[in-house]
């Protein structure tokens, strides 16, 4: 999970610096700057967080975080996972929550998405159980993000391998 956060820190956000730095920063992920007081500029999240800790900028909260309530409602009314505005929304939200205290509560969004994911895993196993042959086709899962998968991934991986091994024994025993 911590490396998911590490990747999420590459996300670009907008900051309003209050210091002056005329040159550009040439980083691996791109060139950022120049920084002028109260002129919005785009930087990676890790840099933004670092600058804010030094009280050198304020981070502009992305549009989609302000619209979180709408997303939450949309997810509440949907049986499948809805598309999230960012691939690493969960990690970014977590990082933002530490910075600014006045964040909308999004725990029900996480919970709802988690329960949808879990029920789709149950469905996957049921599907595998009911199918006659060993090979499963068209297993797709839309709009799931890396951070959310972290909880289920290795468990599902291992238990599915075990399940297929048992099914393998069964299929061969019929021949």
């Amino acid at each position: 999970m911590d490396w998911c956060e590490f990747i999420a820190e590459e996300e670009i956000v907008e900051i309003i610096p209050n210091f002056k730095y005329d040159k550009q920063l040439n980083l691996i992920s791109g060139d950022f700057g120049p920084f002028l007081p109260s002129v919005p500029v785009k930087v990676p999240l890790w840099l933004a967080l670092n600058l804010q800790r030094q009280h050198k900028c304020t981070i502009v909260v992305p549009q989609w975080i302000q619209e979180l309530q709408r997303l939450q409602e949309a997810q509440e009314n949907s049986d499948t996972l809805i598309e999230m505005p960012s691939e690493c929304w969960r990690e970014i939200m977590h990082l933002f929550r530490e910075q600014c205290k006045s964040m909308p509560n999004y725990s029900s969004l996480i919970e709802k998405r988690e329960s949808i994911l879990k029920s789709s895993v149950h469905a996957l196993f049921r599907h595998a159980f009911e199918s006659k042959s060993l090979f499963l086709t068209d297993v797709t899962l839309h709009n799931v993000s890396r951070g959310e998968l972290q909880l289920l991934k290795s468990f599902v991986q291992k238990s599915f391998a075990q399940f297929q091994a048992l099914r393998n024994v069964y299929v061969y025993s019929k021949q």
Binding site: M1, K118, Q162, F163, A165, L166, V169, S173
Partner: protein
């Protein structure tokens, strides 16, 4: 390994895996269908050089496997794999204590099926069915369990087969990791448990030596 290699390596078994070795050393009851010369030493109760036809013996599965491959014995499905148990497992597998029946219930069953035991197909079917039935509960328990209900959790874990337990631990470790990340305990530096207990011991020793100094 030669035996399982001969029937096409059906069971994905790892020769050196300790779980597999333990699973194979469990005993099954076998009946000799032919008399075998100079094999009397495996039947310690009979003082005879040869094994007679119709002798019933409890042999470990690895031995039964080789003997059955040569058509010398027939194997009775042991408890947990026979028809009565298969019906119980089909009805509701989640209440059965597989640890007591196993503890390598699936591995043993897989080997049993691979050696063309009678009712092999039904056994394999019941294995798949059992695993499927129990898996949902394992997943729910391991990915949602909190510390609030340690007794129920413990009771549930005691019923699991060894490979199910492994999956359970995997799931709860994932949950723990995510929780740790959420509460930011990952990047807090804390003392190793061993060091903490070491300090306690040191303190105890110091207290002891002080007492001895005052005594003298």
């Amino acid at each position: 390994m030669a035996a399982s290699g001969a029937n096409g390596g059906r069971v994905p078994s790892d020769f050196a895996a300790i779980d597999d070795i333990v699973a194979l050393s469990k005993k099954v009851s076998c009946r000799f269908v032919k008399s075998v010369a100079r094999l009397g030493f495996i039947d310690q109760s009979a003082d005879c050089e040869h094994v007679a036809e119709g002798t019933q013996l409890e042999l470990p599965l690895w031995m039964a496997k080789t003997l059955a491959a040569r058509g010398l014995i027939t194997v009775d499905p042991p408890k947990g794999y026979n028809q009565i148990y298969r019906e119980i497992l089909d009805a509701d597998a989640s209440v059965v204590d597989l640890h007591k029946l196993g503890p390598h219930f699936y591995a043993f069953g897989g080997h049993l099926v691979a050696m063309n035991a009678p009712e092999g197909e039904e056994i394999a079917k019941s294995l798949v069915h059992t695993f499927h039935q129990r898996l949902h509960k394992i997943m729910d328990f391991s990915l949602n369990a909190s510390e609030d209900t340690p007794f129920e959790l413990h009771a549930f874990k005691n019923n699991l087969d060894s490979c199910e337990l492994e999956l359970f631990e995997e799931g709860s470790n994932c949950l723990k990791d995510v929780k740790k990340w959420e509460h930011r305990t990952l990047d807090q530096i804390c003392a190793n448990d061993m060091v903490v207990s070491l300090k306690k011991r040191k303190r105890a020793m110091m207290a002891c030596s002080e007492r001895m100094a005052t005594d003298s």
